[in-house]
Amino acid sequence: MATTLSARAAPPPAPAAARTGARRYRTAAMFMAPAGLGFLVFFAYPLVATVYYSFTRYDLINPPQFIGFDNYLRMFTSEPLIRTAAYNTLWLVVVLTVCRVVFALGVASVISRLKAGVGLVRTLCYLPSLAPPAAATLAFVFLFNSEFGPVNRFLKLVGIDGGLWFNSPTMSKPALTLLALWGSGELMIIILAALLDVPPEQYEAAQLDGAGPIRRFWHVTLPSISPVLTFGVINSIIYALQFFTQAIVAGSAAAGSADVAGNSKYIGAPLNSTLTYPVWLYVQGFRYFNMGYAAAMAVLLFVVSAGFTWVLVRQLRRSSHQEETV
């Protein structure tokens, strides 16, 4: 941090330099004005206000009423569903992150070894990640449905009994994970770019030293793509922490709801197994209008995700610093 800042610090204030410094500030301020104002209105203010609301009871109609730590007490002691919601999100953070990074790395290394059809395979693997999550979820609910879904048909061909997937409390989160893997193309492309950036001489050197493919991967590939993998892990964790659309659409579609997913009374179906933390926050705040309670949930979400964000920001600062000094 110190080096980054000092690299940019102004030279000792000679009168002329001070003048250009002031002008520089004015120019920068003009360029930053809209974004700065927007940052304050749409990010900084709501962040602070969330903390304030978390200490109140507020239903959008009556003025907020200060209740101290009641919301937090309720969150940690008496409210049963938040525990389910936190468990579901934690499940996703662990399983989905591991699966997503390993899977994306696997696919990317296959693509990086291809000589023919690289562009085609890359496109086919990447395209699904562009599909609107609501539509992709609907497609998966259909593909995985137990009566006539193609997936279970294929599984039957190889002698596996497919199960209920989105209609089963134990299978719904694994099904959501498969959906997330189908849409992990962006991470694949990022890892692929990093794999292709590994200097080929390093592989040659390792090979001359007698390193086999596994050791080459372990000692050459992994170290040189580790920054990108860190990015992938943090990115996936934050993706899992805010997992909302797929969960809410899958829950109500599988339950056969006849309403917009968010308005449905089937949220979290089956048996609250798709009730993620953001979904429960949404229901508390915008279905039950317990805005104070939702704000307290948001504060907790902030604390958790801020930790991961910080790791990424630190890494980014390091890499952007290198870039500037080159």
Binding site: L130, V228, Q242, F286
Partner: protein, 297 residues
């Protein structure tokens, strides 16, 4: 593009001929295996889309059966969905949201990205890190006061709360544009300024033409993000069907006609189509943009 298998082909020249033959067989086997896996991956990723399309052209009762291949091809299903649901209106809402938000994001993010990459001022790093934090944090963190704000302004139930913020602040666009701008040498701008251009003129006349690919990528990601957005529209327009974008409408379409999987899949395919067309048209821009978000991240 250097691939790993190319690297593997570099062998010392002094290998005896018989070993070389075996190695070439090994290499061929390796080639076949790798490409078989690659092909399989491509197919697996495509299958869900394929089944969506095949189901979309089935008769209603066949879509509810175990058969995978349509016995009759009902391409008119793609037309029928428009009778069932005001898809065109939803499409218009999606377009309004995505196009305006993209325009707004570029207008507000270009100057900010310029200031963060091409000007030098104390505190610019801190500003940039704040923007990255805003980009990374889950949207649910700030949603309670924001919703409250839009309720007080009387604008919930419209697309305004979704679009307006982009005209001032979109963290991701600022981030991506800054990363692109950093790759453009400062010298060109310095030269323009020596020729008497102001900072603003230098940005518009020199930097922007050179940064076109980056701007295109940013615009596409912004369009894609808003097109696919579900949480925002649910929150602000959920109560008002007239302002639903496609992403929200599709989930309810499934609800209204939950027996008719063929029509649901036809609608699903229709909402995916614009995004796929966009990708096919501008594949290079996309792929470059993604690598930018990650490698520099």
């Amino acid at each position: 593009m250097t691939t790993l298998s190319e690297v593997a082909t570099h062998r010392p020249a002094s290998v005896p001929p018989r070993v070389r033959v075996r190695q070439s067989w090994n290499r061929r086997l390796h080639w076949v295996a790798t490409h078989a896996i690659g092909l399989a991956l491509g197919i697996i990723f495509t299958l869900p889309m394929l089944f969506v399309l095949l189901t979309a052209v089935m008769k209603s009762d066949q879509a509810m059966s175990a058969s995978l291949w349509p016995t009759e091809w009902h391409f008119e299903n793609f037309v029928a969905v428009f009778d069932r649901s005001p898809l065109l209106e939803y499409f218009a809402n999606s377009m309004i949201y995505s196009v305006l938000a993209t325009v707004g994001a570029l207008l507000s993010a270009i100057p900010a990205a310029y200031a963060l990459s091409k000007l030098r001022w104390r505190g610019q790093n801190v500003c940039f890190m704040l923007i990255v934090s805003a980009m990374m944090l889950p949207p649910q963190v700030t949603i309670v006061p924001l919703y409250d704000l839009w309720v007080r302004l009387g604008l919930t139930g419209t697309l305004v709360p979704l679009i307006a913020p982009y005209f001032m602040f979109d963290a991701f666009s600022i981030f991506l544009l800054r990363q692109f701008f950093l790759t453009i040498p400062r010298d060109y701008l310095e030269a323009a300024k020596i020729d008497g251009c102001s900072e603003f003129q230098a940005m518009v006349r020199v930097l922007l033409p050179m940064a076109k690919p980056g701007i295109a990528a940013t615009a596409m990601f912004c369009f894609l993000f808003t097109w696919n957005d579900y949480f925002g529209p649910l929150l602000y327009t959920g109560e008002n069907q007239d302002h639903w974008p496609l992403s929200l409408a599709i989930a309810s379409f499934r609800g209204m006609h939950h027996v008719e999987w063929n029509l649901t899949m036809a609608a699903t395919a229709l909402i995916m189509a614009p995004v796929i067309v966009l990708f096919v048209v501008a594949q290079r821009t996309f792929v470059r943009g993604i690598t930018f978000t990650g490698v520099k991240g």
